[in-house]
Symmetry: C2
Subunit: 318 residues, 2 copies
């Protein structure tokens, strides 16, 4: 399957419940892949051991030379030292020197970064962002992840905190967020948004939505809302429009700060791209300079779950 | 005053009504300065002729070698070509190749950029931002100007549109802005903010403020509100707190996007720095990661009106 002349890196994507990895060549192709559940013990030592095991398993699949390993972590990662400052999904992880721990265990050079940053790099080099020097990847799932590419490289800010866009305030005194603040963007443009919008419907429409969906507000997932919209439910169509409008407000903010006009939309909710992107585009243009109308690019991510693996591997290749 | 061994550049700051310039050395010192009114004819040709006249006048003040000219313009400037795309204060200016026109007239190398960008560079190199690789300058006046410094250099985004932060949305469906949108940041954290806050006061407090200030809502300028606060007017103190809170929301947004934690506050309203900065800091921390508490730096600009001249000259020096 692979040649011994190849030069590969291994990309690892550490998710909330699964660990996925792949061998990636310089052209961004995944030539082998593997995955395993993360397991119950999420202590740094246990997870590092599992990542190491996945790397060994992947190396056995190739006769070529694996040069390095890149590992994406869902959390804040110092770009200089590969230390994971914190991770919402891995509450025990505080100031864990993942890069150094992994390098020692695996015996290869290791780079560690935030998972959305690696996904952004993957999309920028080999996916929907090709040809754009500057771009922002937004991953829409349970929250909003952000990865910023400037001049073709991941932009980190002072200590790896760049792109933490989910908590941009779009509605002061708005809906309470898990972070303790109110009105955060990811309450209005990620999976819990429909519950927020449904709560604001007139009682009659809310009852009708309840009847059509057969679920409570909590059950109004993007998947269910997609099915309802496809079945012609006008309320669902309208709530996807509201989703797009709120997505657009945050994108406009990022555009006004960074002056970057290319946005790649990924994450599970991007499957409903066509349902919300029209309203999102309108909303971005309503909140930025008219000039951007010609330049604004909102595209669906192209690499799916592979983006993070590809980006991690590409970043690791010397 | 100057030595013939000196190496200088001329920095020009093109304002709404005045043209100011200075000869600046490599250490960021303004060794000579001059100013003139912009005059009634604001066509590109007339303004370029005036800038050229100011440059000649400044050159006569030195026996040393002026190497280059930097010119800050209040508008969107392409960073690659020095073309002024548009300027709110100079409505006739559309796609004016200021850099090339000036270079031809003056016979020296010219760099042109947005005025807030040059002011940010001046503060970063020789003012309040010294020692910070990454920083954002916010100039609070009739609007909010932004200049972003990353790795010690002006960051431009795709076409010079970075740092157009005044129109970040902080209140969807909020107060109408001159740009035609609603809820823009500069309605709540620049000179017109007090009018907005006063309109929301209970009728009784609004009447008391009217009596204390002797003016209508339109007359509630930052200068007047500063005098009222100094005189112990509790309502004025409270409105400065609201000003700080809204300033902080926008700063938090920029922090969450860029991951940059150093903000320099300039512009005329920065004279009231102590009146609003406590509330601003509280508000930034309420809307960002708790981690930033130790890192967040909000400082008053140090160079005043010279920042733009110094930054323009420094950018021009080869």
């Amino acid at each position: 399957m692979t040649t011994s002349k190849g030069e590969w890196a291994i990309g690892i994507d550490l998710g909330a419940t699964n660990l996925r990895g792949g061998i990636v060549d310089r052209a961004g192709r995944v030539v082998a892949r593997d995955a395993m559940p993360l397991g119950g013990d999420k202590s740094p030592a246990a997870v590092i051991a599992r990542i190491s095991g996945l790397v060994q398993s992947l190396r056995r699949q190739t006769s070529g030379v694996v040069r390095a390993v890149g590992c994406g972590v869902p959390g804040i990662v110092g770009d200089q030292d590969g230390v994971v400052f914190s991770s919402p999904n891995l509450p025990e992880w505080k100031d864990v020197p993942v890069r150094d721990l992994l390098a020692k265990t695996i015996g290869l050079p290791v780079v560690v970064d935030n998972d959305a940053n690696f996904a952004a790099l993957g999309e920028a080099r080999f996916g929907a962002g090709r040809g754009h020097h500057n771009m922002v990847l937004l991953t829409l799932g349970s929250g909003i992840g952000g990865g910023i590419i400037l001049d073709g490289k991941i932009f980190h800010g002072d200590e790896g905190f760049a792109g933490e866009v989910g908590h941009i305030v779009v509605e002061p005194d708005g809906v309470l967020c898990g972070c303790g603040n109110r009105g955060c963007w990811e309450r209005y443009a990620a999976s819990q948004a429909f519950r927020v919008f449904a709560e604001r419907l007139p009682a009659e429409e809310r009852r009708a939505l309840h009847a059509a969906s057969g679920t409570t507000l909590e059950g109004l997932t993007p998947e269910l809302m997609a099915r309802l919209a496809d079945a012609g439910n006008a309320c669902a169509v309208e709530l996807w429009r509201q989703f797009g409008t709120h997505l657009g407000i945050g994108i406009a903010t990022i555009l006004n700060v960074l002056g970057v006009t290319t946005f790649i939309i990924g994450g599970g909710i991007a499957r409903s791209f066509d349902r919300f992107i029209g309203a999102a585009r309108e909303s971005v243009l309503a909140h930025t300079y008219a000039h951007h109308e010609k330049k604004l690019v909102l595209i669906q991510a192209a690499l799916g779950d592979d983006a993070g693996i590809i980006g991690a591997a590409v970043a690791a290749l010397p």
